[in-house]
């Protein structure tokens, strides 16, 4: 008979001590289910026969491969061009710096179809840069180059912002000490700044790659063919309905999940080792 009052007292005491954690856990579960359930349903509850067929469909496999390596090339270009910009933004002040930082974030907020149209006005065959590149054999419409610039435009802010935060976290005095020890600015960057900011830079690069893989709006304006997976899913949905679109989407989700969980694991292991 005394068990229930004791249990009620213990539960009440536990709730009082962990109120914040319990409330936050409740909200966290809602958002986790929101993200997890649609993906879970698509991957595990889709038609097994259709999934198997899609796995043997060369159009699907080529599209996934194209998406992955186009996003990888994009991330590499973003790394080469974005890291220096992030370093300058983290270490130096200059007129209109706030405007430049605002412009970098712009691709995140504008609709990506609008971003695609904006890119078409610059890189289209009859426009400013498009003409020049066309002259040296690079065409940005219906080509790998088009996919890459569309992905680059919408995903570069992720790398630039993450790398900038990483550089901010590196104590300037470490760089000062390295300079007085005889290191040139290049040596300081290579031996001190970059190694200390590398986790943020690689996280940003990974985010950029991920964003590139998922891009649809800007790519479809510039390059319908060759078809990246997001466009292939859309095309199958439009032409054949949900049953043909779901297996392609499920394969892309599984491939991406495996890759990103793998990278997260490597980054965590690096963090522990440091």
């Amino acid at each position: 008979m005394e068990v229930w009052p004791k249990f009620a007292r213990a539960a009440s005491s536990y709730f009082k001590r962990h109120r914040l954690l319990i409330v936050f856990s409740g909200f966290s579960l809602v958002i986790l289910f929101f993200i997890f359930i649609p993906l879970f349903k698509m991957v595990f509850l889709s038609n097994k026969e259709a999934l198997w067929q899609a796995l043997r469909d060369t159009t699907v496999l080529e599209s996934i491969w194209l998406t992955l390596y186009a996003a990888l090339i994009t991330a590499a270009i973003g790394f080469i061009l974005g890291v220096p910009l992030a370093y300058i933004l983290a270490r130096h002040n200059f007129p209109l710096k706030g405007v430049v930082e605002g412009l970098i974030d712009l691709p995140i907020v504008v609709p990506h179809t609008a971003a695609g149209i904006a890119l078409l006005f610059v890189f289209g065959r009859n426009y400013l840069l498009g003409k020049w590149f066309n002259a040296i054999g690079i065409n940005f419409v219906d080509s790998l180059a088009g996919i890459i610039i569309a992905m680059l435009f919408v995903s570069a802010p992720f790398l630039i912002n993450s790398a900038k935060d990483g550089f901010h976290k590196v104590d300037v005095r470490l760089e000062n000490v390295a300079r007085t020890l005889g290191a040139s600015p290049w040596q300081v960057f290579r031996r001190v700044t970059f190694p200390l900011a590398k986790r943020s830079i690689f996280t940003g690069t990974l985010m950029m790659w991920a964003r590139g893989i998922s891009e649809f709006g800007a790519v479809i304006i510039l390059t319908y063919f060759p078809m990246v997976t997001s466009i292939l899913i859309y095309q199958r949905f439009e032409s054949y309905g949900l049953t043909q679109a779901v297996p392609v989407a499920a394969i892309l989700v599984v491939v991406c999940a495996l890759i990103f969980i793998g990278f997260r694991y490597i980054l965590q292991r690096e963090k522990k080792r440091d």
Binding site: D171, L174, A178, R179, T180, L181, A183, Q187, V192, D274
Partner: protein, 347 residues
């Protein structure tokens, strides 16, 4: 030798103004001042880490104003020793040799030499995060000195340590300076640290030099009210010279007349250090500067006791514990305070 001629440095909203200094080869100079005085900016400007807007920086007579930090032969050690966290202690120490592409044989030779001075051999394979404060400091000094710089710059090198480690580090820094005879500039806001280590002290405030001199000069002959307060002189009285008796000036302040040995004819302040004031129960005979006062408060400072008296000006007197215990003082008690005219500094 380091010389700074009319140096002006602007960093964000802060200005270092009209800095004229000269530090002899092998000297140990402490740059002292409150937080925000510009001490670190001065140190970093000597290292070439800030652009000098006006004036010249000369190292051994050579104008290095526009020379990059890596070519100046100057090493800097910061407050928390700023060891590179991603490198082992060994990699930290030989960093300066690696970036200069020194041969492996020479690196091994130099490493052995520096390990002998700072006893860092047992630390070589450890990561900086696992070191104690003292070990970190030894590693940072070894890293700074393995390249044999002309000048060593120390930015608050002891402020991260507890009192006991700090005493050990005083000895370590003095020993290093004696062995290597390296020109050293040491920044601190701690006056006791400056007194313990310095050949010379430069006192900075709000980007300007306020006094340069031997530690005793700064301590007993402050050039301004600011220096007197910064060095905890405690008894600082505003007034003016009202006359002269033989060689001594009479300084009138708040109804009291204080005799001072001074060659000044005008003065705004009389300064008497608290430890130069004597307290006695009986009136001392044939002595100038004897005043009767009432004990207002007693503050235990550990080794010393600070006694505040009303007479009627408020005087503070620092007694040794032994001396205090003999006198059995208590608040409200009437005592005589006295000090020598030579202990009074007029500015």
């Amino acid at each position: 030798m380091i010389e700074l001629k009319n140096v002006r440095v602007k960093v964000a909203d802060f200005n270092l103004q009209q800095i004229n200094l000269s530090f002899g080869k092998g000297t140990y100079t402490v740059i002292l001042g409150p937080t925000g005085a510009g001490k670190t900016v001065l140190l970093e400007s000597i290292a070439g880490l800030h652009a000098v807007h006006e004036g010249e920086v000369l190292l051994d007579g050579k104008n290095v104003t526009n020379i990059v930090p890596e070519a100046r032969g100057v090493s800097i050690v910061y407050q928390d020793y700023t060891l590179f966290p991603h490198l082992s202690v060994k990699e930290n120490i030989i960093f300066g040799l690696n970036v200069r592409h020194v041969s492996k044989a020479k690196i091994a030779e130099e490493l052995e030499w520096i390990c002998g001075i700072f006893d860092v051999e047992p630390l070589l394979n450890r990561q900086p995060a696992t070191l104690s404060g003292g070990e970190r400091q030894r590693a940072a000094l070894a890293r700074a000195l393995i390249t044999k710089p002309e000048i060593l710059l120390l930015d608050e090198p002891l402020s991260a340590l507890d009192m006991e480690s700090r005493e050990e580090m005083y000895a370590q820094l003095q020993d290093t300076h004696r062995k290597l005879n390296i020109t050293t500039l040491h920044v601190t806001h701690d006056f006791e640290e400056a007194m313990s280590l310095a050949d010379n002290i430069v006192l900075l405030n709000q980007g300007k030099i306020v006094q340069v001199g031997k530690p005793a000069d700064i301590f007993y002959r402050p050039a301004s009210e600011f220096v007197a307060r910064f060095t905890m002189a405690r008894n600082i009285f505003e007034g003016k010279i009202s006359g002269q008796i033989k060689n001594e000036k009479v300084f009138k302040t708040g109804g009291l007349e204080i005799c001072a040995v001074s060659d000044k004819n005008t003065a705004e302040y009389a300064i008497i250090r608290a430890e130069m004031v004597n307290l006695t129960a009986e009136q001392p005979v044939s002595m100038p500067n004897v005043f009767r006062g009432t004990v207002k408060s007693i503050t235990d400072k550990g080794a010393n006791i600070l006694v505040t008296l009303d007479c009627p000006l408020q005087f503070e007197c620092l007694l040794l514990r032994q001396q205090f215990e003999k006198m059995l003082l208590s608040p409200g008690q009437q005592v005589y305070l006295s000090f020598l005219p030579a202990s009074v500094h007029l500015i």
